[in-house]
Symmetry: C2
Subunit: 421 residues, 2 copies
């Protein structure tokens, strides 16, 4: 009898993480001699710890196929990071208990840096706790901050959303600038890396195009320099269009806007730097301004997903299963760029040990000398990632996204497990 597989989604969801799930599920079906059922964790790894598994074999082939164009995490995700074996052996023992009970021999974990740390720890189970399990990490993060892989599935679609949105808003503000709004500020995600903010720069194909200013987390915010550039843009182009990263920092290295709350990983929860920047502009020049905070709209925007991103998201899911059936473990499929023009890529492999807890920042040579824009090298890197459209089907004027049945696998254990936050 082939072993069953466990698949879970972790961390912030994206417009294309379900395309990865689709790749995993459709590919697993092609190996019935090696993989039995695929059980999804309800709400990520928590589903494994609490024996709350979803039987994906209960879904129709059509529903699984529809995951390719449905944003969000179809099985539920979670923000929960397994501690080290030394600190919390009970969690690992519980995972083994659940995996054994359901005859699970494959572990697929779909997430970003924190999640790949979990993948790596689970991959060590075989050695340290004597339970053989094939463990494959699958990359996902809008932040684009995983190492080794050329890009992270989820990023290209956020990048496209941000570039499209700032182009549209810049056109709008240019129309209004004579008698009304002169400065527009759009806040985008990117906790510590400016990749998403940089993507906004793709909209500026010639000098006068917005965005005129990008505020990166990698460049300490200098209000004087910033205000001088705003002044220059309003005088020269009639308006100033600005992208600001939620992770923008002031001279003290602190986030310009700090909500004060922290997520389960201990990261500061951010939001609301755009109005702070707007006030700085207003105080100095008195210009009428508008600001937008895209927040979840950007990472959920499957309606304007990048075709490249959707294809890569599917491909890493497919590759993860192919790695597993080929006997690989403790690895993660990655995107390898062969060429930028024309854009060519293929799937490669990275060791989870090299991926976990490593954060890839924007290289300084991707940021223009004045710190407020992107360089041609950055454009060459980003451009292919937003290429192509991949529209979902519509019904009643709205995207016809799928909701799965998510039927629970009957529990086999008498024991329960309390997940400690």
């Amino acid at each position: 009898m082939p072993k069953n597989a466990f698949y879970a989604q972790s961390g912030g969801v994206t417009a294309v993480i379900n395309a990865t799930a689709c790749g995993v599920l459709e590919t697993a079906k092609q190996y019935p001699d090696k993989i039995g059922k695929v059980y999804a964790g309800r709400n990520g790894i928590i589903g494994a710890l609490t024996e709350d598994l979803i039987d994906t074999s209960q879904e129709s082939a059509e529903a699984i196929a529809a995951l390719r164009y449905t944003p969000s995490g179809a099985f539920g995700s979670c923000r929960f990071k397994l501690k080290g074996l030394e600190q919390n052996k009970a969690e690992y023992e519980r995972l083994i208990e659940v995996f054994k009970a359901h005859d699970i021999g494959y572990f697929f974990y779909n997430g970003g840096g924190d999640s790949q740390d979990t993948s790596y720890k689970v991959s060590q189970l075989g050695d340290t706790l004597g339970y053989p399990i094939t463990c494959i990490g699958i990359p996902k993060t809008v932040d684009n901050d995983l190492p080794i892989t050329d890009t992270c599935p989820g990023f290209g679609s956020v990048a496209k959303y941000v570039a499209v949105s700032i182009r549209e808003a810049s056109f709008d503000v240019l129309s209004m600038a004579k008698t009304s709004t002169k400065v527009f500020i759009m806040e985008v995600m990117g906790r510590h890396a400016g990749w998403i903010a940089a993507a906004g720069g793709l909209a500026a194909e010639k000098e006068s195009d917005g965005p005129h200013i990008i505020i990166f987390p990698e460049v300490i915010f200098d209000p004087e320099k910033f205000l001088a550039k705003v002044d220059f843009c309003v005088k020269k182009y009639g308006y100033c269009s600005i992208i600001v990263s939620e992770g923008a920092k002031n001279q003290d290295g602190k986030f310009i806007s700090e909500a004060g709350t922290r997520d389960a990983f201990g990261h500061v929860q951010l939001g609301g730097v755009a109005p702070v920047i707007a006030n700085i502009v207003k105080d100095k020049f008195g210009y009428k301004y508008h600001w937008a905070v895209a927040d979840y709209l950007q990472r959920a925007a499957r309606h304007i997903a990048s075709k490249t991103d959707v294809e890569q998201a599917y491909a890493v899911g497919k590759a993860a299963v192919e790695f597993a059936v080929a006997g690989k473990t403790a690895v993660m499929p990655v995107i390898v760029r062969k060429s930028s023009q024309p854009y060519q890529w293929e799937i490669g492999s990275a060791n989870l040990a090299d991926v976990a807890n490593v954060e890839k920042k924007m290289p300084r040579e991707f940021i223009s000398e004045d710190g407020f824009g992107i360089t041609p090298a950055c454009r060459e890197y980003l451009q292919p990632l937003i290429a192509g459209e991949d529209y979902p089907p519509y019904k009643n004027g709205l995207p016809d996204y799928v909701e799965l049945k998510n039927v629970a696998v009957p529990k086999k254990l008498a024991t329960t497990f309390e997940v400690k936050k």
Copy 2:
């Protein structure tokens, strides 16, 4: 010699006001015996006052056709309202001076309620100042608050953007709710009327779907009732997805968030009610929340425009010219709904005297009894307006919007005119 025409865009721009311009320009070319050149006002009526006219005949047919899928106001818009004849006769005399100098016999003014007040006043010029001019208002406003017309071009596309976005964000939050964000708040436009907020309700096709709560400007915000519903939703559905109108008001009838600045029409400039609502939720329940402010992104979002809206925007531009050449004046083409299922509409005509300064609010029967949702009647009204997609062409992963040359018409007057704010 046929008279020339003047066309201008006014007030906040939309995703489809250029589709209307396209309708005007393409249709005017079909009547060379009646209409000479079409001059566009640079920055709306200010272009007429300052003799800053754009010669649209200098644009290629391709560029004019591309206006159909380009958001924003291609000639520049303005927030400027002509005063009454008694208060500022000089402005009207100046308009006549410019119109005479450029042999302008047709005046097309594309805007919302304040702008149609201007259209109406200009239409009176013929009578009171002895200058014969054919004057046609053309409806446009994302607020959907013009009277007589069944809907306002610009609204359907914002409605679609809001409904699509809240569906996507709701899917996202549902994925995260177990361990992270439980409450999501999206702020949308709509100064005094809740039409845009109501459109978000289209995304909720069954009880558990987001948005679960809509905060309308028409319904005084009751924090206790609101919090009780948030609590109910989080307990029943695991999360709560909320749309809040920028015009939401508290028990004193004041805007929940007031930026304190006013636009040229004297309207309070709003923004930032979403974080206020988020704090109310957090203070009561401590739930992790996220909020978004779509701001200009929503009205500029041509990438997800409603096909119905684009067609109607073009149709009112076309009809305006047809009205003019048929000898009508002081009228505005309107959308007349013949049937909702199947959706059928045609162009009708309204007198500017009946349009100016009348604001159409949401009927109470469109808002559910508890004040937090839309009724089936509202859904029947809104549904057809977001129907159909009308994607722009893409280049380099981005919408390939047109920028016109906007060549100035040589000035003929020695006099200048200072526009008073």
